[in-house]
Symmetry: C2
Amino acid sequence: MKLDDLLKQTNEWLKETGPECEIVMSSRVRYARNLKGIPFSHWAGTKQRKKVLSIIEPVLLRNSCLKNSLFLKMDEVNAVDKQFLVERHLISRELASGNSSKAVNISEKEIFSLMINEEDHLRSQVMQSGFNLNEAFRLIEKLDLELEKSFDFAYDRRWGYLTACPTNVGTGMRASVMLHLPALVMTKRVRRILESITKLNLAVRGLYGEGSEAAGNFFQISNQVTLGRSERELIDGITRIIKQIINYEQKARDFLFEDSKKQLEDKIFRAYGILTNARIISSKETIDLLSLARLGINLNILPGINIKTVNELFILIQPAHIQKIEGRVLDIEERDFKRAQLVRKKLKA
Amino acid sequence: MKLDDLLKQTNEWLKETGPECEIVMSSRVRYARNLKGIPFSHWAGTKQRKKVLSIIEPVLLRNSCLKNSLFLKMDEVNAVDKQFLVERHLISRELASGNSSKAVNISEKEIFSLMINEEDHLRSQVMQSGFNLNEAFRLIEKLDLELEKSFDFAYDRRWGYLTACPTNVGTGMRASVMLHLPALVMTKRVRRILESITKLNLAVRGLYGEGSEAAGNFFQISNQVTLGRSERELIDGITRIIKQIINYEQKARDFLFEDSKKQLEDKIFRAYGILTNARIISSKETIDLLSLARLGINLNILPGINIKTVNELFILIQPAHIQKIEGRVLDIEERDFKRAQLVRKKLKA
């Protein structure tokens, strides 16, 4: 597999095949691991980071979960491609910048992605469509069990897995779910609900990663606690709360549909009208309008549009994707023009 | 002809068949006349107004320009129908309100309309599509010549025709042209041009009559002076200036098309996208979006849409028209909903 092949496929987690996929876009579990006896990436010197890479790379290449993977050394990836990988949620912004000897291993359908020499020596993630933390957990356990046979991970009997940042110590696990909550936003209930969630030791972020705002009414919710409980307990804890939020969003959708259907239809159809007609459009506006279109499809207000197309567009309309599709570097004006063209083409197809 | 028959036809002046119709929507000439020896309408008592009506009505009924006309006594017209006639530019707001013995005579294709007991005893107007003051003038002269044979109009050898308001004394003529100037608005040049026009003794108003703002980038320009020059001189004077404004608008359109075609296309297509998708829409928003659609059709940016349909919608989307089409009184919310429905239906037809 080559990097440009990614452009031709839809990320597995966007296919909208998983449970509760009308409200939950995707589920993700990641493990943070470090090799015993080597300083954490930020403290490691060039030689030590090289060593980490040279130890991990061959093991990944023969892992049964990672057949036909794409292995990329970040030194050999140009700026647009790095941004492209960030946009596909395959690497972090941190991996895209800074020190040498960073690398990523991406599995065939983009279900697994493993970053080397990010904050920790090895960060493995599994993505799944819809509300499917259990399957994500099963897959990452399978991967990790195999990795454990080849590596001597930094592990303390009392603390568990040792990580660069204390917030990851213990399980080293972060389970997160990407929720689409347009009805809770429209009914102005989302803030109160998300505030109460942070009191339950869960963190909230936007669609486009750490520090990003909740564009398009997407909210990523993940566990804050990694210590003192088993992976299973943590997964079960977040699952219970996500189920409640899904329930709230469903009720808010029902309420809007009953109470102000015309207003809702107006918003959704206007969004569709702009998406299918604009000639110049920013990422931000596109994401907000696609969010309404997604809601419209799920409420059967906008028939005849494929939900997969809309999901895919959330990724495709980002700056590096637009440039990859066009095969050249574009300035903002050109991107806004090409973005509008792409959205029209995809939605009218 | 009945009042409700008007709803089934397009006003002649909207058919976009006249000269320069891409920029000039319509041309209009009106004459103000009063019967000698009877006080002006505002000073006349009930009996005198009745007398005016009883003198004028039979004469109009046998005028050769007014065959198969609709003759309406305003006392017998309900509020929605009055508003409907105002919206079609067939009567003034003044005729729609106030005293008794008011009436209007509307010719078959809505080319002629004659108001009785408005500010003056008789106000005759002729409407024409496009920039066609000459034809409007020819027709109103024909009408007036015939009327002169039956009436003894208040006329002073020194002052000319006597009218209720001194601003109409002399010819009693007002010639006006409805201009569509979106490019001069977009390039922010319209204010300066229109300010210089008022210095040339011309008045500027909006599409929807006296005191109305320039909604939809429509500007109605008319002569202020009625005295001391012949009708022909006044028509020639305003014609010269309108030709200049048409030239300015054309140049502004060329400039936008050359300089910022993408931005222009974006604006026009977004307007089209909202018009063909919105489920709730106000008159104001509809007018502004239709204005962009009209420009788009005239610049061949929006193909496949009939300009007549767009012109007609400027009239049809008004509150009383929406209610006449639905056949019942509607509140604002219902109108906004039915308006959106009508616009979609007409534009998608």
